[in-house]
């Protein structure tokens, strides 16, 4: 049984409003009895929760908290204070659950007064457990840093010195790509120590905070987890006048706008600093402003107080057309859907106009008072963006390069000439070569995704047992696009190799990349002895883009299976592809092996 969507949305509204453990528990119970809501596009995660205090209060709430963030979460809850046994042993029940994500929830109380006590012993124990977990599983770990103790009432207190030492040690020891740290301190400070701590519940229930703080902690952890899996915001489109600076550049002149760090202008600089932080984590920024482009240029050129620079923006729409047209142009230019797009504008009329045309774009009700804006945006949970793989940071640069490519396309005239002029080089490698990015693409790609299977590594390894996986990196004369496509091929029978998973970044559409990838897969399937390549397409709300991909690539439709449309391509002859004229294919060099002596 599954909840229908109106039941689900009223349940989620109740969850969002829940302030007490009783209200949260009621939502969890209703969520359990209604059956897990299944929205076709929702990524599924398997979350294991372990720690050193009573985590059942959080565990019960996680499925509904993740549903409120667009995920289906299956949960495993470790027995009380078993985190070391669970994480150190590869055959523990926790790893038997095959988690995609593990939360290690550590409270200071047990660490400070239990068996470990000294910062050094704690750092050693936690890093040993985390390192063992990284070896035993492909799961991503979210580790909460020990929270301030109630005794931490002065920076001169022993409790404060202890926590500083523990947290500094953990931060240094746990710097790994599949580990994310979560510091409770800002949450605790924001909620208030007076209402956070209640010693009675630690003594009676091993709960290091008042039970009614559970919804706030759960919400913060769920935001962090959502930020680890798939950041909810990928593009912020921002207005300029009275949003990025005070006043109107056109009326007040470049020298009349308010960016005074000692006055009200500081609140606009606060928003700029906030956006700069997002950009550094790989979120794209764009401008939609009703202005004269020359005026805006003048502000950027002549106001050194501006923290954001023109090159921080992946696109700029500065003219007098409606903001919704600006949004449409930006999405088109950056080849993005409306998912994960946030529009910031101080003007309610502009906000309404954008909402009217793009109901899926998130348009926060920016407070009238600029001083309140950043706090409001932080509280929205939209921007909890935790995973910065090496490639995310470079993404803005790649989009800037795309803009240059589009300009080249205009002057190239002859499209084939344009493709040749791109001097594309594609490098294929096994999936292990780029695990982080492959995992990210599998979870996030919606449009060019033939089967939308959100595999974790364990599932993927199962698929690949009788086949092979490939990922592809594309570079051209404008720069490196990074890993742009992931393929998993499995053997269904002696004669057939089936493309179980194929997804690609839409940024490289229209460049014969699909053809080049197919040629590579076909050659490899043939080398394994397959005589037919089977293509599979599972329609979703978002992947109509590739509905005709296989016919376009020369496949013939065969009988459907379940929800899949199946296609076949004979592998008798070497399949030649026009793509070879435009894309040079090479294999990633294997890491150097030790020479035999």
């Amino acid at each position: 049984m599954s909840a229908d969507s109106s039941e689900l949305s009223s349940l989620l509204a109740r969850y969002r409003a829940a302030q007490t453990l009783q209200q949260l528990a009621a939502c969890s119970r209703d969520h359990e009895t209604a059956g897990a809501p299944v929205e076709p596009d929702w990524p599924k995660i398997r979350l294991a929760l372990t720690g050193n205090y009573s985590i059942q209060f959080l565990a019960r709430g996680f499925p509904v908290a993740m549903a409120a963030r667009g995920f289906v979460a299956e949960l495993y809850e470790s027995p009380y204070n078993q985190w070391r046994a669970e994480l150190l042993q590869a055959n523990s029940p926790l790893f038997g659950f095959a988690p995609t994500h593990v939360i290690l929830a550590l409270s200071s109380i047990e660490l400070a007064y239990g068996s470990l006590r000294s910062p050094q012993a704690i750092v050693e124990a936690v890093s040993a457990a985390v390192n063992a977990a990284l070896k035993s599983s492909n799961a991503h770990l979210l580790v909460t840093l020990p929270e301030p103790l109630a005794d931490e009432i002065s920076d001169n207190s022993a409790a404060y010195a202890w926590r500083r030492a523990v947290n500094d040690g953990l931060r240094a020891a746990l710097a790994a790509p599949r580990v994310t740290l979560f510091d409770l301190e800002p949450l605790l400070r924001n909620v208030g120590a007076q209402v956070w701590f209640d010693e009675r519940f630690y003594e009676t229930a091993k709960l290091p905070f008042h039970p009614d703080r559970t919804p706030a902690l759960l919400g913060a952890l769920a935001d962090a987890l959502a930020g680890v899996i798939a950041p909810r915001c990928k593009l912020v489109v921002v207005d300029l006048d009275d949003t990025l600076w005070g006043g109107r550049a056109g009326d007040d002149g470049f020298d009349g706008i308010d960016l005074d760090p000692a006055g009200k202008g500081r609140h606009f600089l606060r928003l700029q600093a906030f956006l700069q932080g997002l950009r550094n984590k790989g979120v794209l920024l764009a401008i939609a402003s009703k202005n004269d482009p020359a005026t805006v240029q003048e502000v950027f050129a002549k106001r050194p107080e501006m923290m954001l620079r023109p090159e921080d923006f992946a696109a700029m729409e500065i003219h007098w057309e409606p903001k919704s047209s600006s949004l449409a142009h930006i999405l088109d230019r950056l080849k993005l859907s409306t998912a994960g797009v946030v529009f910031l504008d101080d003007n309610p009329v502009e906000r309404a106009e954008v909402r009217g045309r793009f109901p899926d774009i998130t348009v926060p009700e920016l407070p009238e008072d600029p001083a309140q804006r950043v706090a409001m945006l932080m509280r929205s949970g939209l921007f909890d963006h935790r995973l910065a793989t090496a490639e995310s940071g470079a993404r803005n640069r790649m989009y800037a390069q795309n803009e240059a490519r589009a300009a080249a396309q205009n002057v190239a005239g002859d499209y084939q000439e344009f493709l040749r002029g791109l001097a594309m080089v594609m490098e294929g490698s096994p999936l292990e070569a780029a695990r982080e990015r492959v995992g990210e693409l599998i979870q996030k790609t919606n449009q060019f995704n033939l089967t939308t299977r959100r595999y974790n590594w364990t599932e993927l390894s199962g698929v690949l047992r009788h086949g092979f996986g490939r990922c592809y990196r594309l570079a051209d004369r404008f720069g490196d696009n990074g890993i742009i496509s992931v393929v998993a091929v499995t053997r269904d029978s002696e004669t057939d190799a089936r493309i179980d998973l194929w997804l690609m970044s839409c940024r490289v559409l229209g460049r014969k990349v699909e053809e080049a990838i197919l040629a590579d897969i076909a050659a490899r399937a043939r080398a394994l002895g397959a005589r037919r390549l089977i293509g599979e397409y599972i329609p979703t709300a978002k992947n109509a883009l590739v509905a005709d991909l296989y016919p376009r690539l020369g496949f013939e439709e065969i009988s459907p299976r379940g929800g899949s449309v199946l296609y076949a391509l004979p592998l008798n002859d070497a399949t030649t592809s026009e793509s070879v004229n435009f894309i040079a294919m090479k294999e990633r060099a294997a890491p150097a092996k030790a020479q035999a002596g």
Binding site: L21, A25, F57, E203, T204, P211, D212
Partner: protein, 81 residues
């Protein structure tokens, strides 16, 4: 406040937290109500404190598994009508 009056105040809280069909009497205790588990017990304590405006000590909230004792305790705390 009479024991009966305290019981009438407690009943909706117990029904909310533990079981909507629960008929509350002084004889009810945690061992006879399967749904009265440790999680619900904590919620119960918090709800009683907030809704009835009382504060329980650590020992009181740890040992309260019997409704009759709870009523006595609330009377001792001088719960106002």
């Amino acid at each position: 406040m009479s024991r009966e009056a305290v019981l009438r105040k407690l009943e909706p809280i117990f029904r909310d937290v533990i079981d909507p069909d629960l008929v509350l009497s002084e004889e009810v205790d945690a061992s006879k109500v399967p749904l009265w588990d440790s999680l619900k017990h904590i919620i119960l304590v918090v709800e009683i404190e907030v809704k009835l405006g009382v504060t329980l000590t650590t020992d009181e909230l740890a040992n309260l598994r019997n409704v009759g004792e709870l009523v006595t305790l609330l009377q001792d705390k001088g719960m106002q009508a």
